[in-house]
Structure formats: structure tokens, C-alpha cells
């Protein structure tokens, strides 16, 4: 679908994340490796599988209790493991940004949405306020918000969920990042709004040649929206497969997840229940 560049934008090799808790170390991510080019890569898994942890690790958005180890964690020519916090500030939000799940909690409730979008640009560019505002307006238009002038002046509680999510997307894309990490960007949305938000994201990814990491638990959605899928179980990638081939997935966990989805087209008396094999977490 998308043209693959020779050198991937992002290289992750043997990533391990452990959290120090009162009861010792919790091994949340175990030996995850993948490359990301100009494509839509999905990370799917159930709650607690470590999919969001991987996304946050790329931006080093972790509490102090996290121990991150990896053979390789490279973004372009930057080593994300060893680079300074100052260098990381240049990357975060500018070259690599993250769209969160719920706009209700991620937008500043006492600041007009237009100002929030402009602020994202001003944080990385020394330009006059008026130019930043112009860019914010253009960005609102790019995410297909009607009457951007009016919406610019609204507060987060005055916009709907779908509009809030598009405002977040605008905020994350205004700096023209190379990689966008979207953590369940549509799971709080209704189906019709979800379709529109996905279409917006789809356009922007293809027009601007972004790499998109799409973290989700919705296999049906991922199958039709993304190019490639990583399936995570207990902190491990158990299968990496082209989205179009998901029907022919080999790993019993992936097959089990697919089978347990209720479907309109195929009515069954009982849904098969996933039998977990402890070996999946080890292998």
C-alpha cells in the first residue's frame, strides 16, 4: 500500500520494560522487536498485554519506577535509550507525537481549543502568535472541522467527543511529526464518528507520509485499517502479520481472539472461549 523506504524510521530490538513495585519487578514488556516505516502498524492485544506500555516507552513517558532495556531503540539517527532529556523534548510532540484515548481527559479544560493547538506549535517553533493561530486554523480545517473559526474559540466541554478527538489529532499533527502513536484513538467514539476520525487519520498519514502506530484491541477495525499487525500477549509479540493475512493467522492466540469475536455474518450457538497456554508468554 505505502511505499517502503529503505531505512525504517523507527527500529526497536529486544525491548524490555520492568516496573519496580512493592512486590518486586513486574516484567511488562518482554523482548519486543519491530521496525516502522511509512506505514500503519497496529499493536493489538487484551488489557494488560503491554501494548500501551510499548507506545509510551517510545516517547519515554514513564514513571521513574520503569526500567527500560533494549538492544536497539533508534529513531532516525537518535538513540532514544541514551539521549538526553533535552534532546527528547525536541522529539516529543515535534517529530514523534501521541494521540491519547479520551479527549475528555487529555485536553486542558480551561483553555480554548484553538489556543491549545497553537501552543503545541509554539512550543517548538519561534514564530509570532498570529502565525501559530493561522496554522491552528488551517489544521482544524485539515481534520475536517466545519466552521474552524468558531470551533477555535470553544472550550473542550463545548465540543462533542468526535470533535474533541479531531482537535487532539490536529494538535498532534500541527508540528508535522514523522511518527504518530495513536493509543486507542477511537474506542470512546460512536461508529459513525469513528469512521470519520479514521478517514481523517488515514488521509493525513498518506498525504504526509507518516509512520503510524495504532494501538487497539479491536481486531475487526485493525484488519481493515492498518497495513501490518503485531499481536501482543503477556508483554510479548506472539505474531507479526500483514493485516490482509489476518484470516490466515498461525498463532493459536491470534486465532482464538478472532474466533471469539461475535459476528453478524456467522451466527453460532456458542462462541469459542480462548484457552490460554502458559507457554505463549515464555516462547
Amino acid at each position: 500500500m505505502s511505499e517502503q523506504t529503505t531505512s525504517p524510521k523507527l527500529q526497536v530490538e529486544d525491548l524490555n520494560v520492568r516496573f519496580a513495585t512493592g512486590e518486586g519487578l513486574v516484567h511488562a514488556v518482554r523482548g519486543v522487536s519491530f521496525d516502522l516505516g511509512r506505514e500503519k502498524l497496529a499493536i493489538v492485544g487484551e488489557s494488560g498485554s503491554g501494548k500501551s506500555t510499548v507506545g509510551r516507552t517510545l516517547l519515554r513517558l514513564h514513571p521513574r519506577s520503569a526500567r527500560i532495556e533494549a538492544k536497539k531503540l533508534r529513531f532516525g539517527d537518535t538513540d532514544l535509550l541514551t539521549c538526553s532529556e533535552k534532546k527528547l523534548q525536541d522529539i516529543r510532540g515535534r517529530r514523534m507525537s501521541m494521540i491519547m484515548q479520551d479527549p475528555k481527559y487529555s485536553l486542558n479544560p480551561v483553555m480554548r481549543v484553538g489556543d491549545q493547538i497553537a501552543e503545541a506549535y509554539l512550543a517548538h517553533h519561534k514564530v509570532p502568535r498570529s502565525e501559530a493561530n493561522q496554522r491552528a486554523l488551517a489544521m482544524l480545517e485539515a481534520v475536517r472541522i466545519r466552521e474552524p473559526q468558531r470551533v477555535f474559540k470553544l472550550y473542550p466541554h463545548e465540543v462533542s467527543g468526535g470533535m474533541g478527538q479531531r482537535i487532539m489529532i490536529a494538535m498532534m499533527l500541527i508540528t508535522e511529526p514523522e511518527i504518530v502513536i495513536a493509543d486507542e484513538p477511537t474506542s470512546a467514539l460512536d461508529v459513525s464518528v469513528r469512521l470519520q476520525v479514521l478517514a481523517t487519520l488515514d488521509d493525513l498519514v498518506s498525504q504526509r507520509g507518516l509512520g503510524l502506530i495504532f494501538i487497539s484491541h479491536d481486531l475487526n477495525l485493525v484488519r481493515s485499517f492498518c497495513d501490518r499487525v503485531l499481536v501482543m500477549y503477556a508483554g510479548r509479540v506472539v505474531e507479526s502479520i500483514a493485516a490482509a493475512d489476518l484470516e490466515n493467522a498461525q498463532h493459536p492466540y491470534t486465532r482464538g481472539l478472532l474466533a471469539s469475536l461475535p459476528s453478524i455474518d456467522e451466527r453460532r450457538e456458542r462462541l469459542p472461549v480462548l484457552q490460554r497456554d502458559p507457554a505463549w508468554a515464555m516462547a
Binding site: D190, P262, R267
Partner: protein, 280 residues
């Protein structure tokens, strides 16, 4: 007590009958009508689905039947008997509700035993130990879970407790409000199987509210599609799979639950534009 037991026998007519149900919040100029002439009926032993997007009024219909709202207009009847506005004990014995979020619907400082014994105490039913054991095994939980607190249970186990709490009064009708939307797909499959088994075993009637057409198609016989407080379409679930639904909104919901596609996104966008023009 004996009087209420006799009411459990099905009378003539449908199990649930909803006629011209209207509801609005607020008064005067600021009144906001949320339900417009909602009509449907559910037969004994049937599973009936209500689907729609947020704000379409599907949960509101359920809450009217559960007695959480009492200022509705129209008529609601169960087993041929008109429902009053006040919730009474006899009605609670017949109709019980399971809520969406098992993390919010169980009291964090009550053990499973306390949660299950409470309805029995309210209704003055004896033999509590035996009933709690029976209901736990019915929903597939080990008997030792009696003494656990909600935080010691997984999401799926909590939802089983919530179902057990609804079933312990042996109701004939279960109102299910998005019972699996907070759960992972593998756990969702377990809960859906449990609900299907219980319906067959106890001859229960279900009214299920959800936004997931896959869940409706799996569990229900018929489905009503709601949009902006009205029922816009009613279908046999078996018909959803084969031919394309004729109503455009139903078709969009069905397509969207199958996969993401550009064309559907386009249709959804024009629909939304049309809806906002109507509203303005």
C-alpha cells in the same frame, strides 16, 4: 409474599409492551425531549436488542422499564400488567438489570456474599446460604469467591457477580445495559455464552442495549435501531447477515461493524452534516 409469587406466571400478551413512550428532561422552554413515541413489544423467552449511538435514547428506554425514571408518558406493561411510576417489590422480583461497568456497579467494600445477600434481605427471603451457593455455581464462579471483595476479582468475574446479583431474586426479565462493553473480547465471549445458557435454562426474557451489532446478532432474535430518540428500524437478527438492510442508518451500522471503509466514512460524514442542519 405469596401474592407476589403468583405474579411470576406469564399472563396473556407479550412479556414487555412499550407503547408511545415519551420522555423529556427539563420544563418549559428548556425542555429537552429524549424519547419520541417509542413502541415495541418483546415475547416471552425472546431476546430483543436495542442498538444506536450515544444519545439515541436506548439506555433511557431501559431505565424507564427498570424504574429509574418515573416521569415518562405513555404506557409500559409487563406480562399484561401496566407498570406504575413507583418501583415496588413485586416489580423487582420480575425485572432486574445488569449494568455496563462491573467496576462501578459493585460496592468496593462489600464482599460478594454481602452483595448477593442484600436483595434477599430486602425481600425477606430465607435460606440465604443455599441460594448464594446455588447462584454462584449457576454463573460459573467457585463457591470460595463468596468471601472476596470486588478488587480481588477480574472484570469478567465481576460481571458474573453482577449477573448473579440480578438473578438471585429469580426474575423473569433481565435488562442488560452494554453488559460486555467494558470487557476484553475473550472475556466477552465467556459472558455472552453464559447469558445464552441462562436464557435457555431458565426461560428468561432479555432486553439488551448495546452499540455492538455483533453482540446483538449473536444473542438476540430481533433488534430495534434507535436514532435521536426514535426507533427508525426493526429487523430480525437473522436478516442482518444475508441481505443488505434497507434503512440507510442500519446499513451504515452493519457495514461499520464489519470493517472500516472510505465509502462508509463518506456516508457517515454526509449523514452527520444533514443531521446538524436539521438540528440547526
Amino acid at each position: 409474599m405469596a401474592k407476589t409469587m403468583t405474579m411470576n406466571t406469564p399472563a396473556n400478551g407479550p412479556t414487555i409492551q412499550v407503547d408511545k413512550l415519551n420522555l423529556s428532561f427539563g420544563i418549559g422552554a428548556s425542555a429537552n425531549q429524549v424519547l419520541y413515541d417509542v413502541d415495541f413489544s418483546v415475547e416471552e423467552g425472546e431476546a430483543f436488542g436495542l442498538v444506536g449511538e450515544s444519545g439515541s435514547g436506548k439506555t433511557t428506554v431501559l431505565r424507564c422499564l427498570a424504574g429509574q425514571y418515573d416521569h415518562w408518558q405513555g404506557s409500559l406493561s409487563i406480562h399484561g400488567q401496566k407498570l406504575g411510576r413507583k418501583l415496588d417489590r413485586a416489580r423487582c422480583r420480575k425485572v432486574q438489570m445488569v449494568f455496563q461497568d462491573p467496576y462501578g456497579s459493585l460496592h468496593p467494600r462489600h464482599t460478594v456474599e454481602t452483595a448477593l445477600a442484600e436483595p434477599l434481605a430486602i425481600h425477606g427471603i430465607g435460606d440465604r446460604d443455599a441460594r448464594i451457593d446455588a447462584i454462584l455455581s449457576k454463573v460459573g464462579l467457585p463457591l470460595s469467591f463468596r468471601f472476596r471483595y470486588p478488587h480481588q476479582l477480574s472484570g469478567g468475574q465481576r460481571q458474573r457477580v453482577a449477573i448473579a446479583r440480578a438473578l438471585i431474586l429469580e426474575p423473569r426479565i433481565l435488562l442488560l445495559d452494554e453488559p460486555t462493553s467494558a470487557l476484553d473480547v475473550s472475556v466477552q465471549a465467556e459472558i455472552l455464552n453464559l447469558l445464552a445458557d441462562l436464557r435457555v435454562r431458565d426461560g428468561l426474557t432479555y432486553l439488551l442495549v448495546t452499540h455492538d451489532l455483533g453482540v446483538v446478532a449473536h444473542l438476540c432474535d430481533r433488534v430495534a435501531v434507535m436514532q435521536q430518540g426514535r426507533i427508525v428500524d426493526m429487523q430480525e437478527c437473522a436478516a442482518l447477515s444475508g441481505s443488505m438492510p434497507t434503512h440507510p442508518y442500519t446499513r451504515m451500522l452493519v457495514e461499520a461493524s464489519r470493517h472500516y471503509s472510505r465509502e462508509m466514512a463518506q456516508i457517515a460524514a454526509t449523514d452527520a452534516a444533514a443531521a446538524s442542519r436539521v438540528a440547526a
